[in-house]
């Protein structure tokens, strides 16, 4: 085909000069695992590219100037109104540049999608434990990117100098002023004097179009390079271990898929920009420090900070001629600070507590790390309460609740709801684990009831397929060395668990690694939860153990249970239990095999 001819020409030319054949072959054959949640990061990446493209277009027309002028443009409702050049040029982009409105709206929607995708991506990484060694650095880069993204978005929507964005800047300035010791100076330096001054928009502009995107581009490059170098994690499944990557090669499969995905992302943004109006600055009017409209909302990713400001009680101290505005700087810095700092430190905290220094490449299913999942859900709940409080005026209006009541509810629930979320999540995870255990032990209940010749009724259980079994079986042994040694050595505590800190660590380790013991399926229930699992299941651990282990390859199982005549049914169940043992013996013990994935296939998969 002509492909080879082209390659001969161009490829030959390049290779003569750069010696790339070997490297590119490796690159082309690089294996990419597949799972729908892996697309979340790609959405963020493509949104970023679209932001760069549309943003560049906007810079051709935007005037980052606060110089006042009187508008006489195409948007007649504002004819004769005084405004800044920044605002006027935004109107021009919208009403006098062909495609300008579309590009503006795509840009704004892309910013929102970018942040939403980062949040979702980050949650996916957290709940599947994909941040674990060796990926801690990429996790940190991701958090920095998220922070930069928030700033970039805030600065971006401040540029048009409309009434809404000006109010956002005013709040920013008020928050900066509240910082003890240096706040007033910081605010004066950023704004070039007292608010609003004439400098803030040109300054935000250069930060928005050069400095922050430059940093983000560099970090995204590093993020991708590290991901590429370390190879992507994979979801648990048949044949997937920490020592391999299972998937399709980058060329042509991943390239084509990801290319298609770029088109879909762009199409979604273009659709949103065509049919869903966003940030109609012409309706808000130009900024004036004198006015403010009700129901003002920042973009969604700033909503949590807004809610934190709203929920705070009016604490302010005056000490020795200085003002501590706890009512402002605490909500501005503390809640999000806790979440981001906590997220950044979490991989290291978890590692330290469990003592797990292994590499992990197969993801956890969220249920298999109940405490981690519960902590994540508690954090989401905390964030979510404050985020909702950021729109409490709208909630009060639409839900017909008194405005102050919404704030009081938020004041209570920001502390209570995360605890409830933690407890509930943990119980749900443990319950799902028991369900998995049940499936492993007994197969899938088909709902088909048969009557045996003896008159007994029995339900046909379909044994798990190999793929289903692999998903359920894969489970990181969360109890790391520290905890294990503490229990195992004859009463002598392991070095890691000695002393006061060691005891705390051992205690935390117990909490963090709480799980239903999957090895119960192999016949040794160990801890209390394993015991619960058994109680619920009725069939004891004894049943699987004597089952025909030696024969029990996975194929044998399906052979046994497949032609399920009435008598075979009971046998099928037993064989399934035995299969676990068989699987365990030829690999590692089930449950040690290593991680496990968070995918949502989990509960449904086996029933399909």
């Amino acid at each position: 085909m002509s492909t080879s001819k082209a390659l001969e020409g161009v490829g030959g030319f390049l290779d003569d000069r750069f010696r790339g054949a070997k490297g590119f072959r490796t690159l082309f054959r690089k294996i990419f695992p597949d799972h729908w949640t892996f697309l979340l990061g790609e959405i963020a990446l493509y949104s970023f590219i679209i932001l760069l493209l549309t943003g560049t277009f906007l810079t051709f027309f935007f005037q980052p100037s606060m110089t006042g002028m009187t508008y006489h443009g195409s948007y007649t409702p504002l004819d004769g109104v005084r405004m800044s050049q920044a605002y006027a040029s935004t109107l021009n982009i919208s009403f006098d540049v062909r495609g300008g409105l579309l590009m503006r709206q795509i840009h704004h929607w892309a910013a929102d999608l970018f942040m939403a995708a980062i949040f979702a991506h980050m949650l996916r990484i957290f709940f599947t434990g994909a941040y674990r060694k060796p990926r801690e650095v990429n996790w940190l880069i991701g958090i920095v990117l998220l922070t930069l993204g928030m700033l970039e978005g805030l600065f971006g929507y401040s540029l048009p100098d409309d009434l809404l964005s000006g109010a956002g800047l005013r709040i920013l300035e008020g928050v900066m002023q509240s910082i003890p010791l240096v706040g007033t100076y910081l605010a004066f330096f950023l704004f070039g004097g007292a608010f609003p001054g004439n400098d803030i928009i040109p300054r935000l502009y250069i930060l928005h179009v050069l400095l922050i995107p430059g940093l983000m581009l560099a970090l995204i490059t590093a993020h991708l390079f590290i991901m590429f170098h370390q190879k992507h994690t994979q979801m648990p499944g048949k044949g997937r271990t920490d020592q391999n990557v299972v998937g399709a090669p980058m060329y042509p499969y991943f390239m084509a898929k990801t290319g298609a995905f770029f088109f879909f992302t762009f199409a979604a943004l273009a659709l949103a920009a065509t049919f869903a109006q966003i940030n109609p600055v012409w309706l808000y009017g130009p900024y004036t420090p004198v006015a403010m409209s009700a129901g003002s909302q920042p973009d969604f990713y700033m909503g949590m900070l807004e809610g934190a400001l709203r929920v705070m009680v009016p604490w302010e101290w005056n000490v020795a001629g200085h003002t501590f505005s706890f009512n402002v700087f605490i909500p501005a810095l503390l809640p999000l600070g806790i979440i981001f700092t906590g997220a950044a430190l979490w991989p290291f905290i978890e590692q330290w507590i469990i003592g797990d220094r292994r590499e992990h490449h197969v993801n956890d299913r969220p249920r298999n790390a109940p405490t981690r999942t519960a902590i994540g859900m508690a954090a989401i709940t905390f964030y979510g309460v404050l985020w909702l409080e950021g729109a409490n005026d709208l909630l009060a209006e639409h839900l017909d609740i008194a405005l102050y009541t919404t704030t009081r509810i938020a004041q209570v629930s920001m502390f209570v709801a995360p605890v409830i979320a933690y407890i509930l999540t943990k119980r749900i995870c443990l319950g799902l684990q028991r369900k998995d255990l049940h499936l492993l032990e007994h197969g899938v209940e088909t709902g088909v009831i048969r009557q045996l010749p003896s008159g007994e009724f029995t339900e046909i259980a379909r044994p798990l397929t190999e793929e289903e079994r692999a998903v359920l079986d894969a489970r990181t042994q969360l109890s790391g060395p520290a905890a294990l040694e503490a229990a195992d050595e004859n009463g002598i505590p392991a070095p890691a668990t000695r002393g006061a800190i060691g005891k705390v660590k051992a205690r935390l380790s117990t909490i963090l690694t709480e799980s239903v013991d999957l090895t119960a399926a192999n016949g040794h229930g160990r801890n209390g939860h394993g015991g619960n699992g058994h109680g619920g299941n009725g069939h004891g651990a004894g049943e699987p153990a004597p089952a025909a282990v030696p024969a029990g390859g996975p194929q044998e199982i399906s052979a046994g249970a497949g032609p399920a005549g009435p008598p075979a049914v009971g046998g099928g169940v037993a064989a399934v239990g035995g299969g676990t043992v068989g699987g365990g013996t030829d690999g590692e013990v089930a449950g040690h095999s290593s991680s496990d994935g968070p995918d949502d296939l989990g509960p449904d998969g086996p029933e399909q």
Binding site: S94, Q177, G295
Partner: protein, 357 residues
């Protein structure tokens, strides 16, 4: 790669120089020799026995593939048409009025969306139904370098450190560090001129004795009689500062009319005129203009964070995160009967700051 100079390399597989020189060049349109497709990680691509192709050349069902091909082609044609439509819409539809912009945006956006959607759908069907399914397992090596490599690197590093004399000569080391410190601080110092020092500027506004209160929108002075109906709130600005945002950001003021008996301590009655009281419009929380007024309860509400101030009682905070009441502006009337300020505010307006006290 000098080895394959002049012959190039026909199929994108790794350049195994020896192999490529063997045999005639492949005829265009014929499949490549089997050894051209080596198994990834097979180690010795040269040993012909070990190689087999890793990716199937065709999907299993060629008849279905043919249908898929037509669908994909249709998608791409649609994308092409939509792309042409986009250009046509750009050329054909003018803007410069609200209606025209709506039409243009609809046409451009729809065509762009359809183009990308069709491309995406086409490419997806292509991957899913035309490219043969593969699942390949690739080995993953531990990320840590083998111990000898680490040791060798440590050695190299130590050698370099030694050769550089950095460790041996503390004088050099310390003076170098000493030299870099001021240079590292310099960029921060350079930022000093980004703004003036705050000084006492946050303590004052442009209100002075005798400055008239101008109605915000119409920019007209106000007589108490013009503002006679109790229950209203209007925004006023100091005369002469209509276009000075810096001044207005601190000086924006609201006046509210009460029946005189409604006003209570801590409202300063001497600072009011006929039940008209003036408060700073800048919220003491983070500085939004307090724009909402509830006539029945006399509550002033900040729309940003819902700090609520009790207007007849010195604008005390009754709900929300603001910690201080809105400062009251002393007002009176001048000889012509217009409302004027008696003086500036007696305390700093707007959000708190460290030096406020």
């Amino acid at each position: 790669m000098s080895e394959i100079n002049g012959h190039g390399e026909p199929d994108g597989s790794p350049a195994e120089a020896g192999r490529i020189h063997q045999g005639p060049r492949r005829v265009i349109g014929t499949p490549p020799p089997a050894e051209a497709r080596t198994l990834l990680g097979s180690g010795k691509p040269d040993s012909a026995a070990a190689v087999q192709r890793e990716l199937p050349a065709d999907p299993p069902d060629l008849r279905k593939a043919k249908i898929a091909e037509r669908i994909v082609a249709a998608c791409f044609i649609l994308a092409m048409l939509a792309g042409i439509g986009f250009i046509a819409a750009y050329i054909g539809l003018e803007v410069h009025s609200i209606d025209a912009v709506l039409r243009s945006n609809l046409a451009l956006g729809t065509s762009l969306s359809v183009a990308f959607l069709a491309l995406g759908v086409g490419a997806t069907i292509w991957v899913r139904h035309l490219m043969p399914d593969v699942e390949i397992t690739e080995a993953r090596k531990p990320l840590a370098s083998p111990e000898p490599d680490r040791a060798a690197f440590a050695e190299t590093f130590a050698e370099g450190a030694e050769a550089s004399q950095f460790v041996k000569r503390p004088l050099l080391r310390r003076t170098l560090i000493a030299a870099t410190l001021p240079i590292a601080v310099a960029p921060i110092v350079l930022l000093r001129d980004m703004g003036p020092l705050p000084g006492t500027s946050l303590r004052h506004t442009v209100w002075r004795k005798g400055v008239r209160l101008m109605e915000d929108v119409s920019y007209t002075p106000i007589r108490p009689a013009d503002f006679s109906s109790p229950g209203g709130m209007i925004t006023v600005i100091p005369e002469g500062y209509q276009y000075d945002d810096d001044a207005l950001a601190k000086a924006a003021t609201i006046i509210i009319k009460f029946r005189p008996e409604e006003l209570e301590h801590p409202t300063v009655l001497n600072w009011t005129v006929d039940g008209i009281v003036a408060y700073s419009k800048i919220c003491t929380h983070v500085g939004c203009p307090v724009s909402l007024y509830e006539q029945t309860t006399h509550h002033i509400l900040c729309p940003c964070h819902q700090s609520t101030f009790n207007a007849p009682k010195g604008a005390e905070v009754i709900f929300g995160p603001a910690a201080r009441p809105l400062p009251q502006l002393p007002i009176t009337t001048n000889a012509e009967g217009y409302l004027v300020a008696q003086s500036d505010f007696h305390e700093p307006v707007g959000p708190s700051f460290w030096e406020r006290g």
